[in-house]
């Protein structure tokens, strides 16, 4: 345990976040996400919700201000209601001074992006579409 480091962040995740460079991505994935299939570097945080994880990650990690969308979610199937968790993602980002809208990526493209991500954090989130990709910035 360290001062000012959110308690839910495991040591390896803090290490990976420190190793990440500008433009590297981190995926916060829900409980149903095929994290171990798409990524070789998975941090398992099954006891934590995706929004809490987002809050904790944003305590430490700046977002990229040079890309159009530094925070992207998986596009929902057309006709489905707008997932409620997006509202919580959006507010969490806003509270961390990220004021843009969420970006949207189709499901299979999202998996491809997750493959390229530096790390995938698999949470215990069960709310539909509880996945988000974050692009690391350089304004620490």
């Amino acid at each position: 345990m360290l001062k000012h480091i959110p308690k839910i962040l495991p040591p390896d995740l803090v290490k990976y976040m420190m190793e990440m460079g500008h433009g590297d991505t981190l995926v916060i994935a829900d409980a149903h996400f095929p994290a171990y299939r798409v990524s070789k570097r998975v941090v398992d945080c099954s006891g934590v919700g995706a929004v809490d994880m987002l809050k904790a990650v944003l305590e430490l990690m700046p977002l990229d201000s040079y890309v159009e969308n530094a925070a992207e979610v998986m596009q929902n199937v057309s006709g489905d209601d707008k997932p409620k968790i997006w509202q919580d993602f959006k507010m969490t980002l806003y509270n961390n001074f990220y004021e843009k809208d969420l970006g949207f990526i189709d499901r299979f493209e999202f998996y491809e992006e997750a493959e390229k991500a530096y790390v995938v954090v698999r949470t215990g989130e069960t709310a539909p579409y509880g996945n988000i990709i974050l692009h690391k910035g350089n304004n620490c």
Partner: protein, 951 residues
């Protein structure tokens, strides 16, 4: 407050309660199924959607309601009637019928030409001068949502249509509509007011018989619209339509052909002229044909009216009279300015005020969500909204500044300044005179070739301050009011407003701290996560006093333990850092004596205790009066230092039987845990420079340099723990004193105190300096230190005569309560009260120092009775500061001996340990003992013999 206002205020509060309930997840009560806004074009619709999403994201709109914003069909001006048909079609695309649906429609499609600062956000989202109970600044839309939240329960089904620039103040309980036709919401007003508005004439069945629009008083009276008290039923523009009527209306547009026929800019149906008019009982088709249209009176419109007559005239419109009720029209810039300045007191009953969410609360001007630097001058009756006004700016009288950043500029009297961010990322400031009408051809006294609304007058700039400065200075360009509105980037409106609000909230919070506003009087409603983040970031580089208060206030208001810890960590580290200044390991020390034994007395505190504790003493200085005493003829604090042949350091404590030999330096340096049996010994070695604080030098090497190893033993004779006599600090003092003697080094009194302070900070005990000085210096002393991070403690024995001292000694007693002081986080509690500007705490900390000085005066004048009175006063003050300093047992001890004593106080922080009393002149200590034994037998309550230690 008159009855009408009282009723309206209560009605508003009731509506707010209903609104709050409607926000609950499960959706309490009956809610609107649909809330639909109409907009004049897609750009305005997009701005409205952003405003609604913003509120949904924050949970301030009921989530089970469906919200939609419908722009005029294909960007054409289809009229309020056409827009209403568009609403019906939208709903029927989602629903099979209107039956059972409760729909709220707010017509909000205007360009707001007469208040052009609201064109981009829409008049519906213009400010209302009220801070909502949840801390948000209000807008017309929020007021609508709150005021209308009680209406759905009063309808079985149907659609309530409102005009977006008229705010109704009423009580929904007065609405009762379960009919088949329509209902008009009307309010009673004096006929003099009625002559400027639409008035309803009621027929015998209680329905609307006729509409009388802007008629003279005489005509209104002749028509029978004026009642016996001279009042008329005013048309508020609010109409309820039943689901049956909605179905009939929808039949006009249930096909694409039908929709094209009735919803277009040629027919341009008006909601009021074309839908509401045919509902009056006495209306005729002929009159209907002549009713003033929203657009032009043409063949298509007349044909449409014929059809509408057939559909609507069979229905009647019930007249619902709401009274007391009121309405407010948001019309022109002049009306707006008058409302927020001159007339604001008329709306005090609704908690409207001239200054909403601003850092400047004085001055004869109005403001709303604006940051105004202290050095900015704002003229009388001006209104600043959503703006950032920097030092050096002068705003004239009767100005409206909206959405602007002003730097180094003077704004002339009567000017409206409004800045917009446009879609290319640049900024356009639009200026006009307060009395300029954008529909006319005049601008700031100049004649224009076209209307002000369309005249190219303003240019774009990279920053808002540049735009404002250049435009106010007279530079012109290619943008008109209209084109800049069309180009506005509406997504930036909320972001800018929020950024300003963050800045204002931070400033207001810091002002509260500076003004010593007690934390208990504040609420957390402005502390959004963004504001908290900004404040904690600011605190990192703030100076000591501000920094600890930011952490403390935030911790208290948010219930955040981490910030609480950060506050006290900051105090501890600042004091430690300062105390450690100039203290370092001295490799040249040599042991000068084979052994040293130091005995010290304990202290009794008389006046000013707690004023010596950081951060109070750092910020204000502290002053205490105390006395050194022996117990049972003994000096109870003893430390023994002995030189050893082996190169090792031995620490022991006779009291708890602890003994340890140290050969590892890191074990000796680890002294921050106050529960460590040797924390005090280790801190003494560091504070005296015998061992290094952090440097890695072996114990063997240290001992070699000293000329041998040594042992340090501490002992407290016959005093129970938690006595309140300052034993642990005096023990620290004894260690420092003894160590310097052991090393053959002279040390000044002040240096001695400083080293002990340093020890206490190293041990993280965080107390003040009075205890150690109380034991280190003999006699009765005044001890003080001036304000400053580095406390320079001064001590002076008071000039008491031997005769007075002996007389006081004769009467002075210490009583042990039989209880060890309760373990509680007293220091944080009391210090927290001080940091949090608790009014009692601030007063007590001041008063007790005065008492200390007065005690000295009385003692130096031989007035023991006067001293006793002050001691009693102090006891009362101590209880104000910390109610836990006494308890039932202490109260009972004092109460059982009340007739034997003249003065009473606790020792130290109280809550157990020792009590001190001054007996009445003719009472003996034996009598005191007998009385206490009578009551408390051998439960541990005991009188100790004590004498003042004269040195």
């Amino acid at each position: 407050m008159n009855y009408k206002n009282l009723f309206l205020r209560q009605s508003y509060l009731d509506s707010y309660d209903t609104y709050r309930l409607s926000l609950k997840e499960a959706g309490c009560g009956v809610l609107w199924d649909y809330v639909i806004l109409t907009a004049s074009n897609e750009s305005q619709a997009s701005a409205y959607r952003q405003q609604i999403d913003y509120r949904l994201d924050r949970g301030v709109l009921p989530r089970s309601t469906h919200y939609a914003v419908l722009p005029d069909f294909e960007g054409k001006r289809v009229g309020s009637g056409g827009a209403t048909l568009g609403v019906l079609r939208y709903i029927r695309q989602r629903e099979t019928s209107f039956s059972g649906l409760r729909i709220l429609v707010i017509h909000s499609g205007g360009d707001s030409k007469r208040v052009p600062q609201y064109s981009a956000c829409g008049k519906l989202f213009s400010p209302v001068p009220r801070e909502l109970p949840d801390g948000r600044r209000s807008t017309l839309f929020d007021e609508f949502i709150i005021a209308m939240s009680g209406v759905p329960a009063r309808l079985e089904s149907g659609m309530l249509v409102l005009s977006g620039d008229v705010l109704l103040l009423f009580n929904p309980l007065q609405i009762d509509f379960f009919g088949k036709g329509a209902a008009a919401l009307s309010i009673k007003e004096n006929v003099m007011t009625g002559k400027d508005h639409g008035v309803f004439l009621r027929d015998d069945s209680g329905n609307v018989g006729r509409f009388l629009h802007k008629q003279t008083v005489e005509n209104l009276t002749l028509a029978g619209a004026v009642d016996h008290s001279g009042k008329v039923n005013i048309d508020t523009g609010a109409v309820i339509m039943s689901s049956e009527m909605l179905s009939d209306l929808y039949s006009l547009v249930d096909t694409d052909e039908g929709f094209s026929k009735y919803v277009n800019d040629t027919v341009r149906l008006s909601f009021y002229a074309d839908f509401v008019y045919p509902l009056s009982a006495d209306a005729t088709l002929e009159d209907f044909y002549n009713e003033k249209p929203e657009g032009e009176l043409n063949g298509e419109l007349l044909a449409a009216r014929k059809v509408l007559w057939g559909i609507l005239h069979k229905y009647r419109m019930k007249l619902i009279c709401m009274s007391p009720a009121s309405f407010l029209h948001f019309g022109t810039s002049v009306e707006l300015l008058e409302l927020v300045t001159d007339h604001i007191d008329d709306y005090k009953f609704l908690d409207w005020k001239s200054k909403v969410c601003s850092n400047r609360n004085i001055g004869n001007f109005a403001c709303y969500n604006s940051f105004i630097d202290d050095g900015a001058v704002i003229g009388e009756n001006s209104y600043i909204e959503d703006s950032d006004i920097c030092d050096g700016v002068t705003v004239g009288k009767n100005c409206i500044i909206s959405g602007s950043t002003l730097k180094n500029i003077s704004v002339p009297d009567g000017m409206i300044v409004h800045t917009l961010k446009i879609k290319n990322g640049k900024f356009v400031t639009r200026v006009l005179g307060l009395s300029d009408n954008p529909k006319e051809n005049m601008w700031l006294g100049k004649k224009l070739n076209t209307s002000l609304w369309e005249a190219p007058l303003f240019s774009e700039y990279d920053t808002p301050e540049e735009a404002a400065e250049a435009t106010i200075s007279g530079k012109t360009g290619e943008y008109s009011l209209k084109s800049s509105f069309n180009e506005a980037d509406s997504s930036q409106i909320i972001l800018w407003s929020d950024k300003l609000h963050d800045k204002i909230s931070v400033e207001r919070f810091l002002d509260f701290i500076d003004d010593l506003c007690p934390v208990e009087k504040l609420t957390a409603k402005e502390l959004t996560p963004r504001v908290v983040r900004l404040l904690t970031e600011y605190a990192e580089t703030a100076e000591f006093s501000e920094k600890i208060r930011i952490y403390y206030y935030l911790a208290r208001l948010l219930g955040n333990d981490e910030l609480h810890a950060r506050c006290f960590d900051t105090i501890c580290s600042c004091v430690t850092e300062s105390a450690m200044e100039g203290i370092s390991y001295n490799p040249h020390f040599k042991i000068a004596k084979d052994s040293v034994i130091t005995h010290l007395p304990v202290r009794v505190n008389w006046g000013g205790g707690w004023s010596d504790t950081p951060p109070y003493c750092i910020e204000h200085g502290g002053m205490v009066l105390n006395a050194a005493v022996t117990l049972d003829g003994q000096l109870p604090i003893v430390i023994t230092l002995k030189k050893l042949q082996e190169n090792k350091i031995v620490l022991c404590s006779t009291d708890n039987g602890s003994y340890a030999e140290f050969s590892d330096i890191s074990a000796l340096q680890n002294c921050h845990d106050p529960h460590d049996a040797f924390a005090l010994h280790k801190a003494a070695l560091i504070a005296c420079g015998v061992i290094p604080y952090k440097e890695n030098i072996s114990v063997e090497e240290i001992c070699k340099r000293l000329g041998g190893g040594f042992s340090l033993n501490t002992e407290v004779l016959n005093i129970p723990k938690g006595s309140g006599l300052g034993t642990s600090s005096i023990l620290a003092g004894a260690c420092v004193k003894g160590l310097f003697e052991f090393l053959g080094t002279d040390i000044s009194e002040n240096e001695l105190y400083n080293r002990v302070l340093c020890m206490e900070q190293i041990m993280s005990t965080g107390g003040g300096w009075q205890d150690q000085v109380g034991g280190l210096a003999a006699g009765i002393k005044m001890v003080w230190a001036a304000a400053g991070l580095k406390q320079q403690v001064c001590c002076e024995q008071i000039a008491i005569t031997e005769e007075t001292l002996n007389a006081l000694e004769e009467r002075f007693c210490l009583i042990y309560t039989g209880q060890r002081r309760l373990a509680r986080n007293l220091l944080r509690e009391v210090v927290g009260k001080y940091i949090g500007a608790n009014e009692d705490a601030l007063d007590v900390l001041y008063q007790i120092q005065r008492i200390a000085v007065l005690m000295r005066f009385e003692l130096e004048h031989g007035n023991i009775d006067g001293f006793c009175r002050l001691l009693n006063d102090h006891w009362e003050q101590s209880k104000r500061l910390d109610s836990g300093c006494t308890n039932t047992c202490i109260d009972q001890i004092f109460s059982s001996i009340e007739d034997l004593i003249d003065g009473k106080m606790i020792c130290g922080a109280g809550g157990g340990g020792f009590l001190q009393v001054v007996l009445k002149p003719d009472v003996t200590k034996q009598q005191l003992r007998a009385r206490l034994f009578d009551v408390f037998a051998d439960s541990g309550v005991a009188v100790y013999d004590c004498e003042f230690y004269r040195g």
